[in-house]
Symmetry: C2
Subunit: 395 residues, 2 copies
C-alpha cells in the first residue's frame, strides 16, 4: 500500500467510525423529529383518534437510543484496535451515504446474527451444505474456501463449523468494523439488544413489529470457532486481492503496485471453493469478478453462487477513472472517465460467458428462490428478492 | 378555483406535458448513454466475451424510441384538448421527479392496460366482484361507486362493465393525461406497442425479458364502456373534493374557497361504495382520508380496500403549510410548517381507528396477499408487495 492509499484508508475508516458516533443524532433527526412535528400539527380532534401516537414515538426514540448504545460500545472497543484518534470530533465527517449505511447495518446484523432471520439464512445454507458434504466427506481442514463480500462473517463461521479452512474477504469498513466487534468482541449469546426495524414506518401489520427487539449474536462465536485457526478475515477489494495481473483495467477496485501484484500472484489457484452469496451484483463490471473467481480457484474447484441480480450501481451516476497498466514501465494508457453502471448481465448471460469464455462447466442451477433478505418476516413487508443458485466447476 | 390555483394548474400541466416531450432525451441520457460509455471502456479482451452487448444496447435505444412515439402521439392529441401552448419549447420545464414519472407511467400503463398484468389485476378484481355481485344483484346503474386514486382508469372501467355508476377521481396530471389518451383516444385493441421494462437492468433471467414488448390497450375501451354514461372522471385531490368542511386542516391537498366548500357539501353521503386500490398509502395524513371516505359514503355504504402500506411520503423531506380555517371570517390560524411524512398507520391501527373513532364496522379482512405490482412477472424480478384487503360498512 502506498502513501496515498494509506491516507485514503484512514479517511474512510474515520468517516465510518464517525457515522457510528453520529448514529443517534442522525436517526433522531431523520426518523423521530419529523414525526413529532407531524403529530403536533394534528388538530385536537385527530390527536384523540390516535392517543397512543405520542407514546409510540417515545418508544421509537428509546429504540434509537438502544441502537446507539450498541454503536458506542463498538467504538469504545474499536478506537485503539483500528488506530483511530481518541477524540471523535477530530475524525473526518461522514457522508449521507455513510450515515444511511449505519441504518442498513442494523438490518444486516439481524440478518446474519439473530435467530429472527434463521429461516432466510437456511435457504442457501442447506443447499450449500448438502453439496459440500457430498464433495468433501473428510479432511475438510485442508479444503480452502474463499467468501468474497463476506459481510458480517456469518457464512464464513458456518463453513468453519463444517470444518473447512475459510477465508472471509470484505471491502466495506462498515462491515469490517461491525464484524470485528461482533465476532471478536467476546460477546455472550444474545448479549446485545437491537431494534433493527425501527427505521421503517411502512409495510406493518401492527406497530409492535416495527418495535420488535432482536438479540445478537445467536451463539457465542468465540466458543464456536475461536482457536481452531480455520477462519481468517482479509480486508480489501476482491479483484484487487485475488484477481489476475492481466485482463483487468486499473480502477478504484483494482490497483497495480508491485506489492499487490505479488499478493495476487500468490493467490493464483489457491482455493478449492469460492462462495458468492448476495455478492455478484455488487460489481461495476461483473466480467472482472469472473476473471477473479477463475484466477483464484484451483482446477476442478467450485464456484457456488446464491443471490439476486440487483446491480448495486444500476442507478449510480458516478464515474471512476479506468486505465490500462503496463507491467514493465508502470505506465497508464487509455485513461477513461468510466460510468460505474453499465455492465448488468442476466442469469443466463453470466452462465453463458462463464461456460464459453471462462473454463467452467455447469453442475447445478436453480432460479426463483424467494428470499426475504432481512426484512421483518412477521410484518406485511415487501416480499424481498428472487434468487438464483448455481454451482460451476473450473475445468 | 381562484386565480392563483389556476396559474399553478397551468404550470403543473405544462411541466407534465413537457416531461412527455422530453422523455426520449431523458431516457437515452439516463439509461442508454452511460452503458455505451461503459461498453466502450471495456478492453478488447472483455468485449469479445459479450460480443452481443453493442447490439443489445441498440435494442434498448430502439425500445426507448418506440416509447417516445407513444408520448409524441399522446401530445399531438392532447395539446388542444388541454389548452396547452402549441410550442412545447415555451412550456414550463419538468423537474427530475416529473421525468422519473414518465418512466414509471409506462409500467403503470402495462399494469392497467395489457394482458401481461391480467393475473395481478385479477387478484383484487375477483375478491371485489364477488362481494359486489352478492350485495348488488340488480339495478346496478343506480349504485354509485367512487374510486379515488383511479390511476389510468382500468378499475373504473371494470366497475362500469359490471353495470355500476362509477366516478374515477385522480389528482396526478401524469395519470390524467395518459388515461385521457388511452381511454378516449379511440385506440384499437393492442394498437400501441410499448417497452415498459426497458429501463430496468436488474433482476433479469435473460435480456429478452427486459426487451419484452407489451401491446395496449387490451380492449377497445370506447366499444366496451362508451356511450352508456356510467363513467365519469373527476380531476383533483380526494379530500379537497369529497371531504367534510370541518376536521381537516387546510393544506396543499385541501383548500377552502367558497366554491370548493359547496362541491364538498354536495358530495356528502353521495356514494354507495368507495374503492381504494393501492391508494391509502399515498396520503400525508391518513386520518384525512378516513374523514373523507366517511363523509362521501351513504349510511350502510361500503369501503373496500386493497393494497400495501408503502407510505409514499415516508422518506420525503418536504414540508407543507397547514392551517386551521375559519368558515365565517375566512381567517387562517395555527399556521404550521408541517412535514409531509409522519402519520404512517399499520393495518391494525387503521382498522382500530375506523371502527372506534369513525362509524365503521368490519365485514371482511385478509392480509398477506402477494402482488407483483406491474413488475415483469416472467423475469427474476423483485417479488413485489404483500397486500391487505378489507371491507368496512358505514353504520
Amino acid at each position: 500500500m502506498d502513501g496515498q492509499d494509506e491516507e485514503n484508508d484512514v479517511l474512510l475508516l474515520e468517516r465510518t467510525a464517525s457515522s457510528f458516533f453520529r448514529y443517534k443524532e442522525f436517526a433522531l433527526e431523520e426518523f423521530w423529529r419529523p414525526r413529532i412535528l407531524r403529530w403536533e400539527s394534528l388538530s385536537e380532534h385527530q390527536k384523540q383518534m390516535i392517543p397512543w401516537y405520542n407514546s409510540y414515538l417515545e418508544d421509537v426514540h428509546d429504540a434509537i437510543e438502544t441502537n446507539s448504545i450498541f454503536y458506542m460500545n463498538l467504538l469504545e472497543r474499536s478506537v485503539k484496535l483500528w488506530g483511530l484518534n481518541s477524540d471523535p470530533n477530530l475524525w473526518a465527517q461522514p457522508s449521507g451515504t455513510d450515515m444511511r449505511k449505519t441504518i442498513s447495518m442494523l438490518n444486516q446484523i439481524a440478518r446474519e446474527w439473530s435467530t429472527h432471520c434463521e429461516e432466510e439464512r437456511d435457504q442457501f445454507l442447506l443447499l450449500l451444505t448438502e453439496f459440500l458434504e457430498e464433495k468433501f466427506p473428510s479432511d475438510r481442514n485442508t479444503i480452502k474456501i474463499l467468501i468474497p463480500g463476506a459481510g458480517l462473517g456469518r457464512l464464513a463461521v458456518e463453513m468453519v463449523r463444517l470444518g473447512f479452512n475459510t477465508e472471509a474477504n470484505e471491502v466495506s469498513y462498515h462491515m469490517l468494523m461491525n464484524s470485528q466487534f461482533i465476532m471478536d468482541g467476546g460477546l455472550q449469546k444474545e448479549q446485545i439488544a437491537l431494534f433493527p426495524f425501527v427505521h421503517s414506518f411502512s409495510h406493518h401489520i401492527n406497530r409492535a413489529e416495527q418495535l420488535r427487539q432482536v438479540n445478537i449474536p445467536d451463539m457465542n462465536i468465540v466458543e464456536e470457532v475461536g482457536g481452531n485457526g480455520l477462519l481468517s478475515m482479509v480486508a480489501g477489494s476482491f479483484p484487487d486481492l485475488y484477481g489476475p495481473n492481466v485482463n483487468i483495467k486499473q480502477s478504484e477496485s483494482y490497483s497495480n503496485s508491485a506489492y499487490i501484484r505479488e499478493v495476487r500472484a500468490a493467490n493464483r489457484g489457491s482455493k478449492h471453493v469460492v462462495i458468492t452469496n448476495f455478492f455478484i451484483d455488487t460489481c461495476s463490471n461483473i466480467l472482472d469478478y469472473l476473471e477473479t473467481i477463475t484466477h483464484v480457484l484451483k482446477v476442478d474447484g467450485y464456484w457456488i453462487n446464491f443471490g439476486p441480480f440487483m446491480y448495486h450501481f444500476e442507478q449510480d451516476h458516478q464515474t471512476e477513472m479506468t486505465a490500462d497498466f503496463d507491467a514493465y514501465t508502470g505506465e497508464l494508457s487509455n485513461i477513461l472517465d468510466t460510468p460505474l453502471r453499465g455492465i448488468e448481465l442476466s442469469h443466463e448471460d453470466i452462465l453463458e460467458v462463464a461456460t464459453t469464455h471462462f473454463p467452467f462447466k455447469l453442475l447445478k442451477q436453480q432460479t426463483n428462490i424467494s428470499s426475504s433478505y432481512g426484512t421483518n418476516k412477521l410484518d406485511i413487508s415487501m416480499l424481498g428478492y428472487q434468487c438464483s443458485f448455481w454451482v460451476l466447476q473450473k475445468t
